[in-house]
Subunit: 321 residues, 4 copies
């Protein structure tokens, strides 16, 4: 089988960097171009400097159609324009939020393999989910699929600084963020739309509130979403439901011991932990926001699009510490 010819648009950002870190060691990947307006002519490692010694690729200032798949790593809003510039025969994986919501004329499949694997396999265009949305959906979908979301859901989700990308701002300044914590976009985070869409798809009668309090944490990588709801089932029953749901999904695991964020950092895994207190069910979900929450999941989707082993190139050494 020939290698997959790959183009990347928006190559200088964090998600593109993470994509490159995965793809340069992916046995079936051939990177054909890495497009960046601002860095054209520079070496990849001039921007993603941890790749010094690993690749001599250069950013290019144009892109073309001689590829099998294109990853769009651009700002929200830009993907809509870019898509028009590629032939219909080229597969597209969009990491922005432009195509995540179902609408007339939107040909993109929502790329959460644990929800849509079979459809992704035959898709042409994939909208890669948001980072918070991934962590939260993987925690709630097993229940939704059993129509067990029968109360409001109360979520606090805390993200590392890489979730905000490489742009400089007060809240990404080290002197500000080190040892700090803050709430933002309470109840209104844009990922609620895609979460709600998937929940209702799985459990059409769902009519409760999903309350989401995002926070900025004092760490670089990772998302921890902790959430609770009312649930009459026993912990055993719920654990069975979760384990069954994920037994054939290679990146999601249900831990019977309490979990902590660094168990998944620098991996494509999601770990889930369940606990019951009276009729309250607590679910904790952890992912690496740049991997399962972005570029790792994008490669997982690429593997599915091209009939490869779903885990190919994604058996990553955790950083652990």
């Amino acid at each position: 089988m020939n290698k997959i010819k790959i183009g990347i648009i928006g190559g200088a950002g964090y998600t593109a960097g993470e994509l490159l870190r995965i793809l340069i060691h992916h046995p079936m990947a051939e990177i054909v171009f890495v497009h960046s307006k601002s860095n054209s002519g520079n070496k990849i490692y001039d921007v993603h400097d941890d790749l010094f010694g690993d690749t001599n690729l250069v950013f290019s200032n144009h892109f073309h159609n001689e590829v099998d798949v294109v990853f769009l790593c651009v700002a929200h809003g830009e993907s809509k324009e870019l898509v028009k510039q590629f032939d219909n025969s080229i597969k597209i994986i969009d990491l922005s939020q432009d195509f995540r919501l179902i609408s007339d004329g939107n040909s993109f499949v929502y790329g959460l393999p644990e929800l849509n694997r079979e459809v992704i396999k035959i898709a042409q265009h994939v909208a890669n989910p948001g980072c918070f949305a991934t962590a939260i959906q993987l925690a709630l979908l097993p229940l939704a699929e059993k129509k067990l979301l029968q109360s409001d859901v109360h979520i606090t989700c805390i993200t590392g600084s890489t979730g905000a990308g490489q742009s400089l701002s007060e809240t990404s300044h080290f002197s500000w963020r080190q040892n700090n914590l803050s709430v933002y976009k309470a109840f209104t985070h844009q990922h609620l739309a895609e979460i709600g869409q998937s929940i209702v798809f799985a459990q059409p009668d769902f009519h409760h509130s999903i309350n989401m309090i995002p926070q900025r944490g004092s760490f670089t990588r990772g998302i921890m979403a902790s959430m609770y709801l009312t649930c009459e089932k026993s912990l055993d029953d719920i654990q069975n439901i979760f384990e069954k749901k994920y037994e054939k999904h290679p990146f999601v695991f249900v831990s019977k011991k309490n979990i902590h964020l660094k168990q998944v950092v620098n991996t494509n895994k999601c770990l889930l932990y369940l606990e019951k207190q009276d009729d309250k069910l607590l679910i904790v979900s952890i992912i690496d926001n740049l991997l399962k929450g972005a570029s790792g999941q994008a490669v997982q989707n690429m593997n599915l699009l091209f009939g490869l082993e779903e885990t190919m190139g994604l058996k990553l050494k955790p950083s652990a510490f």
Copy 2:
């Protein structure tokens, strides 16, 4: 006026250290003894080594009654025994949780000045509140006093590592905790008891759940408690209620701008921030767990017990960064 003669029991722990950092610059404090079983004979700065150059005090292996007030900085459970060893004439401020709950024979006043200032002023024994309990009560009491707690309350509260004291454990290991995050004691944290006691005291008809999800954060000092509930009042009305409640309390402030934890680190302040989304009211409350959440509040209580200016010795320079 004579200086206040002070004894400290359990002098080698984090809360005693913080107490010493405050008291050695307090204009009315005279530290008579600092008791520590394990460190008897050592200099204070051998243990609290940031005090090198500030004091030559020595830990002693016995305590006595020639003081005006004793601070108990011992493990939960030990205060009950210690109290018996002091004359009735000596005022006691207990930082453990032994005397926080009302019960037969418990002579201690619950030492949250924003709830009990007038009673503290005439008290003999004060039970200093817990750190989470302080942050959460200051956020909820203004509503409870107006009988406005009319729904479940959903709280996530994240603490710095100093909240767990100086004992060594896996979750206090730097290699583990740096860049990490985890949930513990979900719905069951021991501070719920004192929170509930104060809420019901202020709003006797309160009958909803207070759901509390504590988390270990990747920082050393501080607590951020974010919580929400259903409330029909307008944001303006609620802000007025909070401002009125705290206008005569020198350490609690209501911010109209969003807040972040480091605004209060190394101070005795509590900052509150309010936001409404439809009928949901979000309250964010931040304190330094070792100051307003422990030793700072203990000195505030001492000031009240002895008729001093409530802020004496507590106008601390924030560390800010």
Copy 3:
């Protein structure tokens, strides 16, 4: 005695913020204006938001001569212009590097109290030392004054992120700096000039190299300078020399136990530690870069200029953790 009327220029930066944190609790300080071009009309706490609740001062867009002293907290190069706009009767403390080096027409006294206390007391204009320069000079001056600098000096000095101010840059981005470390300006840091000037002043025959390797550390506040040189004296003799040198200086202390940076964070102290290995003398020097390395020392200088107790307003609670 009347309070000292104070003006601050460049009020929105880190050093001005730190100055305000000290001065609002300084018993003899009256802040008359805080000038900021970019923030005129805003509250001080809009920028230095940890001061919310502590002050209602407002930034002004002009400055004037109705003050006793002006602090210049502006970028290097700007002080030279500003100085001309103040009457000769007004004392000036400049935190930039514009006036630190002796030259024709430079009326500023180098404001290191441990070197120049008596001259500062009668000065009109003070050039506040640089942060690295402070840490290093306090380590070397006791030797220089005894003509004991008889070899090259090898220095590594590591600074927290606040040393680079509040401007946003790649190396101040949290995602970059957290858990990171890097060397910059090896052998060429601009503070070498003022260090050399003081050393030669104290030991005119000094003719060796001072090698300085500055590094960016993964922390917010503080500087640790570790350095070594050849020295024939015994450790006891050297310790005596250091202790004698600093016995009347209230902020510098010689520790016989090894030290660590957080012993001085959020204080105006400098701690020194000495160790000998054969004929090599190691000196470790720690300060808070924003306090003894900048604004704390500026207030120390103000105290000297106005005949106040040198420590007034500077007995700060360490943050310790």
Copy 4:
């Protein structure tokens, strides 16, 4: 070719954990036993919990000779005893310091591939180098091999907390180490012996001092060693020497741009950066202490011992942030 049968002794420590993270994805590795006295019967992921979902291996309480290679991940001093318990036919890679120094009866080859690759290939026993020793030797050996070490060498090397292993101590406590920095073992670190041995091996006439100031940094993974010496050669000449030295070594790279620690974290790479100021040559060397400084290098040695591609299993995704 058959897979390599592997035994690991001391399986619960940090270096064994890191070894497991690499070996479970190594295409030629078959882990036969992971020995741990304290954890016998437990799952690997009970201790190294980031491996949950990756392996179901269990710690065993005995080891045997049915393996091709044994990794000793035990405390210094224990390897000497353990070695006797394995057949001569079994290859041994020792991560302790027991066999790093040449002595009568020591059959171990010093396992720095960039110094000893050809000898390692035919060795039976390999002594894996120390972490500081690796970073420093890779910086100095290119010069030593050209007899260019003609002055004292001045080294500051800063290590992350994982360098001290998983034992709990004051300096590994999060509340202590976060935002902190300290010097230890100045001039006397035990790695100086192996560094000196290699330097003299490469440049027998070397007779200068190697001054080494180790420090504890506020980060978890990595070592940065910065050092300088006197060197008359031009920067171009030296860069050529370094590039030539390492052109056939797949993990060591010479950067013409300044470097920072996180470029190598979670990789087996060493990056070197050179700079000249007059006759002073600065060399900065960075590695991940647990990988190129321990377990990664151990696998590199295993690859050499068994005639595999040197990089097999070691093309790791950097964590970058």
